[in-house]
């Protein structure tokens, strides 16, 4: 008699039919897209407002430097005293007043410049203004030293080193960034998946204990089978939820962006920087991105993503299940959650700090073999190119540990599910392993 499909089916249907599960499945994408749309909308409003700034330049040096932009209008004041200018700014809804005093030398100029405003001005605005002032003063100082601005321009050379591997593949900064995005997304996805659905498995084990149905069940099936059925069933429910999320988010995004005409890029300020820094515009970037994607080990990445994702998730899921079996209620789980979460968080830290810094350093290598951290760390390393044999060793270690962990979890599970009433200590759990 093979009951595993029956158990998986029940676990799956129970999860999928659960009201809060259904609500979360369909509501989350709306919330996600809603927040996204809100951020995009707000930042577009932000960009639309025009700030008026008065400039009172007693030195007379900067009169030509302040050119109005779509977002900032400069108004040059002449023949005003500082007091008058302040008063005018206050009464006429002017965002701020830049005051540049009369000075003898360029060196002392920096002391007296003041920006008056109602509230603290935004950092980016102050940055812009300071840049303008600084540029002008620098040019003037160079002139004073006898170097004219044309010479300076012709002397200035921009350097951006080309990157190439020994095998002749062209790489670029963009490529490294892309690899980070791939690796980081994979690692982070796994991390989230483990936390959300691991907890779900734990709760489902606890529910069987508190409703006392467990003894009836395990007089019909082996605890190990029940444990496996639970893990697989919940995982399938999780994958279903994830797929619904992905599809819904994609559809909603398309709808939202087309209806409201929001440019998705507006939500990410970095896009602008990118556009400015690379010559040739968006088309060139798209081309570069496609090139870099082609350079990534795509097949390797997908195969390993699936293997590490499944292995890592199953490993942690069996841990969660044994915690559920050891306790009576969810409030008792705290003391056992620490040892589960620690390696997981460690993996993410190693991934996001060490791997980014040095993908093939000793620390990164070691952590990509330890089964509790390898799924996240190795997934983040693979885009940077890891020899296949290393990947295979790591996968083998991972699945071997999973096998051992199921044995271990089943032992705790078998004893724990029939223990009611008191919170076990680590010492007691150790004893259960020997029953």
């Amino acid at each position: 008699m093979n009951h595993l499909p029956l158990i998986i089916k029940r676990e799956y249907l129970t999860k999928v039919r659960n009201k809060s599960f259904i609500i979360m499945t369909f509501l989350s994408p709306f919330i996600f897209v809603g927040i996204f749309a809100l951020v995009a909308y707000l930042s577009s409003i932000n960009n639309d407002t025009i700030r008026k700034i008065s400039v009172l330049d007693e030195s007379g040096l900067f009169a030509d430097e302040f050119n109005s932009t779509p977002h900032i209008q400069y108004k040059i004041l002449n023949d005003f005293s500082l007091e008058e200018a302040k008063k005018e700014a206050e009464t006429q809804e002017i965002y701020g007043l830049l005051y540049i005093p009369k000075t003898e030398s360029l060196d002392s100029l920096s002391q007296g410049i003041t920006f008056y405003s109602e509230d603290s001005p935004s950092l980016s605005l102050m940055g812009d203004i300071n840049d303008i002032l600084e540029n002008k003063v620098n040019t003037m100082k160079l002139k004073e030293a006898g170097i004219d601005s044309e010479t300076i321009k012709s002397l200035h050379i921009n350097i951006s080193a080309n990157q190439e591997t020994f095998k002749g593949k062209e790489t670029s900064k963009l490529g490294s960034g892309l690899k980070l995005v791939f690796g980081g997304a994979a690692g982070y996805l796994l991390f989230m998946f483990i936390i959300i659905y691991g907890n779900m498995i734990m709760r489902s084990v606890i529910e069987e204990k508190t409703s006392r149905v467990i003894e009836v069940i395990i007089s019909s099936v082996k605890p190990r089978l029940l444990l496996l059925g639970k893990i697989f069933g919940t995982t399938l429910a999780g994958i279903t939820q994830f797929l619904v999320w992905v599809v819904l988010i994609l559809v909603l995004m398309t709808v939202v962006t087309s209806i409201f005409g929001i440019d998705p890029a507006a939500a990410s300020p970095s896009q602008q920087v990118l556009e400015n820094s690379v010559d040739g515009g968006t088309q060139q970037i798209m081309h570069d991105i496609m090139l870099e994607i082609n350079n990534l080990p795509i097949v390797n990445l997908i195969v390993m993503f699936i293997l590490f994702f499944v292995g890592g998730y199953l490993l942690y899921a069996s841990l969660y299940a044994s915690v559920g079996a050891a306790v009576d209620s969810e409030t008792d789980t705290q003391q056992f959650m620490m040892p589960i979460l620690m390696p997981l968080i460690l993996a993410v830290y190693v991934g996001f700090f060490t791997v980014i810094d040095n993908p093939h350093g000793t620390v990164s290598q070691i952590f990509s073999y330890i089964p509790f951290t390898s799924p996240v760390v190795m997934l983040m390393r693979i885009p940077f190119g890891v020899p296949i044999w290393q990947q295979i060793i790591s996968v083998v270690i991972l699945f071997a540990t999973f096998g051992g962990m199921v044995w271990f979890a089943a032992k705790i599970y078998r004893v724990g599910i029939l223990m009611y009433g008191k919170k076990p200590t680590y010492k007691e759990i150790y004893k259960w392993l020997k029953y």
Binding site: L6, R10, S211, R212, E215, V216, I217, S219, V221, Y435
Partner: protein, 308 residues
């Protein structure tokens, strides 16, 4: 009689705690076997071993002539003391699931469930969730699920807890009917009156050891102690009382009567036959009541436990 279940010298230790010490029982086919004992005596451990939930450290269990194997679970129906059902699952779905886990096909399970639901008149609960039912109602479902796959061996741990007297009676009748239909039943309870009514055979566990085992009638015979309950009308109650007290161990008794009489429990020495005792009593006055006091299961339980 043929034995359905034989437990041979089973021991089980949890850490430093010995839950069962060399316990053996034999359960005859078609009988109702009472597994008794105070809390913590080891009954549940023994039952779990029979259900293969835990394994014995030493000893063996033989079911219907074969050493216990995983596939045997389909021949056993078990109603645990700590019982419950999935709260958010619907009654019908849940019953089908549990029946399928016991090896029934879906179709077969459906037909049998229909029969039982009609029989207990709970057909309209099919689409309700367990959490919408009362505790007693849920227990009925659980009972049905336990017996649905027509197991050869039924194990009931405190089957009547949670039932009102009417439903308890209903379940009792169903259990007796299952026995008539050929099932063998192991029955663990603290309610001695149901032991008295139902069990053919009992075993008493105490502190992990079996301290008493046998047919209920035999045990009662063994525990009789020549005690009689008497009613006697005499000219002078006080004088007769004093006389009785001198010759026998007596204690006051109360039973319903329309007479104004002496009521006593009297322990008669083994040397005196009951006939001799009756003639002695009639010589003292008019005998209105004469009954041998048979020890109840409860008396035997308490006496044996206290002795050990």
């Amino acid at each position: 009689m043929e034995k359905l279940l034989v437990v041979n010298n089973v021991s089980k230790t949890y850490g430093n705690y010995k839950a069962l010490n060399n316990v053996s029982i034999e359960v005859e086919k078609g009988s109702i076997f009472g597994l008794l004992g105070p809390n913590g005596a080891g009954k549940t451990t023994l039952i779990r071993i029979i259900n293969q939930i835990t394994m014995p450290d030493t000893g063996s269990v033989i079911l219907d002539g074969e050493p216990l194997q995983p596939h045997h679970i389909q021949y056993i129906g078990y109603l645990p003391e700590e019982r419950g059902l999935y709260k958010t699952m619907k009654v019908g779905e849940q019953a089908l699931y549990l029946a399928q886990l016991k090896g029934l096909s879906k179709q077969e399970a459906k037909e049998r469930l229909k029969y039982w639901f009609d029989r207990l008149q709970i057909g309209d609960w099919w689409d309700k969730k367990i959490q919408e039912l009362s505790k007693g109602m849920a227990q009925k479902i659980q009972f049905v699920v336990t017996v649905l796959h027509k197991p050869k061996l039924l194990i009931f741990d405190e089957p009547f807890s949670g039932f009102d007297p009417i439903n308890a009676n209903l379940i009792k009748d169903e259990i007796l009917k299952l026995r008539e239909d050929g099932a063998t039943i192991i029955f663990s309870t603290h309610r001695m009156e149901s032991v008295e009514e139902m069990c053919d055979h009992i075993a008493l566990l105490h502190k992990s050891n079996k301290i008493l085992d046998g047919r209920l009638v035999d045990i009662k015979r063994q525990y009789r102690n020549n005690m009689f309950e008497i009613g006697l009308i005499t000219p002078n109650h006080a004088a007769t009382s004093a006389l009785l007290k001198e010759r026998f161990e007596i204690s006051p008794a109360t039973f319903k009567s329309i007479n104004d009489e002496l009521q006593y429990k009297v322990k008669v020495p083994d040397s005196v036959s009951s006939n001799d005792f009756v003639s002695y009593l009639t010589s003292q006055g008019q005998l209105t009541h004469f009954v041998e006091v048979i020890p109840s299961a409860s008396d035997i339980f308490i006496e044996t436990i206290q002795k050990n």
